[in-house]
Subunit: 336 residues, 2 copies
């Protein structure tokens, strides 16, 4: 069902407010979900809303908490998320860090006990739009096997990097898994086989059967290097945030456990340097103009596809699966 963005935004906000989420927090949480839909990342979009509402209802998400801040050192912010909504806790930390880095140049927030923060690109872009460099990461439920291994030991541990440029901010946002688990589920729904190398089954055997893969584990991206990066992020998050490690992480995909993963937000203030950021834009344009492997597909920079999809969805609407549309309207009808 093709829906216009303002209607979906109003619906999400209304449902959140009906569970006691204050208006500003409901708008922010909705913005995260809607922006994910607009950018073609439905796994971080409205499909998360019903579970989020039930987490609020059953006390796993506190609708009014924004996190308790403690500064053990001048550039280091420890955030007790107090079971708050992920975007609310994250944006509160981002505001605090953005103020700090004008004095310190660099600062990091380590966050535990916040709910799912959603699409990391959101925070990286917010920071880059203010002229700051951002690194954002978190750990998550064990879904990924080590390089050369077959057991789910690592989260999909995404990394987002944002930088100011002379034009639109540079925003990279990538999971360190080869594919998202949502892609495996999509293949299962369509009964399409998986490409080789994506996943192993519960017994650790390579499989192209998406049903077998759902019970198994997915590969890290980029072989040993992607595995190493995902593992380094896992360790860094756990050490700084004091969060659980992937095999013990719960609460971002269910509505039965407290979210015990950790989130990191690192900001650097490069100072006002119009010539420096302009140089980055020129270089990115040179990359885009460089000789492509296939003349029909020009070279792109990270974020280009996201911006294209967003513009199209704002114009044409967001395609929401019928079942999800019905579920959300059912929840709304129940309010009346």
């Amino acid at each position: 069902m093709l829906c216009q963005e303002p209607l979906l935004r109003a619906l999400a906000t209304e449902l959140l407010e009906s569970r006691g989420v204050p208006a500003s927090a409901a708008r922010l949480q909705s913005d995260l979900l809607i922006e994910a839909e607009l950018r073609g990342l439905p796994s971080h979009g409205l499909q998360r809303l019903p579970r989020l509402l039930s987490r609020v209802a059953n006390g796993l998400a506190d609708p009014v908490a924004s996190g308790r801040h403690r500064w053990p050192r001048v550039g280091m912010l420890e955030v007790d998320g107090q079971r708050g909504l992920g975007p609310v806790v994250m944006m509160s930390a981002l505001e605090a860090l953005a103020t700090t880095v004008t004095a310190t140049g660099i600062a990091v927030a380590a966050i535990r006990d916040a709910n799912h923060i959603g699409m990391l690109a959101y925070y990286a872009e917010q920071a880059a739009t203010r002229g700051l460099i951002a690194l954002v990461t978190c750990n998550s439920e064990a879904l990924v096997h080590p390089f050369g291994g077959t057991q789910a030991m690592l989260g999909t541990n995404p990394l987002a990097i944002g930088l100011p440029t002379g034009g639109a901010p540079f925003v990279l946002d990538m999971a360190t898994s080869l594919v998202p688990m949502g892609r495996i589920h999509a293949h299962a729904l369509r009964k399409e086989p998986l490409p080789e190398g994506w996943a192993v089954d519960a017994q650790g055997r390579p499989t192209t059967d998406p049903e077998a893969a759902k019970a198994g584990t997915i590969a890290p991206f980029g072989g040993a290097k992607g595995y190493g990066l995902g593992l380094a992020l896992e360790l860094m998050v756990a050490l700084l945030a004091g969060s659980a490690l992937a095999p013990e992480v719960r609460g971002t995909l269910d509505d039965t456990h407290v979210a015990n993963k950790g989130d990191l937000l690192l900001l650097i203030d490069p100072g006002r340097d119009a010539a420096g950021t302009r140089r980055l834009s020129l270089y990115l344009d040179a990359l885009r103009a460089s000789r492509p492997a296939d003349p029909r597909h020009p070279v792109e920079a990270p974020g280009d596809g996201m911006r294209r999809r967003r513009a199209a969805a704002l114009r044409d609407g967001i395609d929401v699966p019928d079942a999800l549309f019905d579920e959300l309207h059912g929840l709304r009808a129940a309010l009346a």
Copy 2:
């Protein structure tokens, strides 16, 4: 030629001192080269020494400079490398940051105009051994094509991450290229074809001919994600260090240009947390004990292979190519 490590170390130190490098700096620069040899990374080992000596001789490397430090903000160190030896400038910055982070929790050094800093794992391990988290990166000559592209637009932009654990430090050190250019040269020497996907020729056509690849460009690791990571590092280094961007970088592979790349060193002090670091060791041990894809090859953590190669080389010696051995001894004979 199999050589014992102490003899090679003495030879390298003597050659550096003969060019006016002070004893402590010569020992440090030699340590970088020898550690790379011990860990099976000869591309960052003694083969770099003859060019380094000629860079000192012709004024492109200043044997006594250690970098001028300026702190524009309390957590941000700007280093003018003054054409100093890479390891000397880096370790001076590391010492300054390590002191700072006990107060600030986090700090970053942006370094320009230093010579090649060598194997990044060295600095990450130094920091992790002191209980600090380290991120180290730099940019370099354009050797890598964008994902979907065919022109050399990016450096091999390595990333090293070090973390303290209850046992040996965790050290990841990886280039964001699929393979190092040195591997292409090694295939060319042995007249062995390259695996598909490693490289394109000067006209941008996929090639398995190593000679054609030497004139062409190598792929980023991990497809679009590895490309995105390498690009983000390129931009971050250029913006913070004010260095050249890859297409204009010179001076780490030649002895005719000033080294105009940039280097970044970011340290975080996680505080003394014996339980936290011990938890990381236990998790890494669980990873290593997890079910492997091939029972003959247990799962490893980054750095495991490096430590194994180092122990073997300390016991059995370092295999130095005869031509390089002769070249180094020729340089030594010329001193007499």
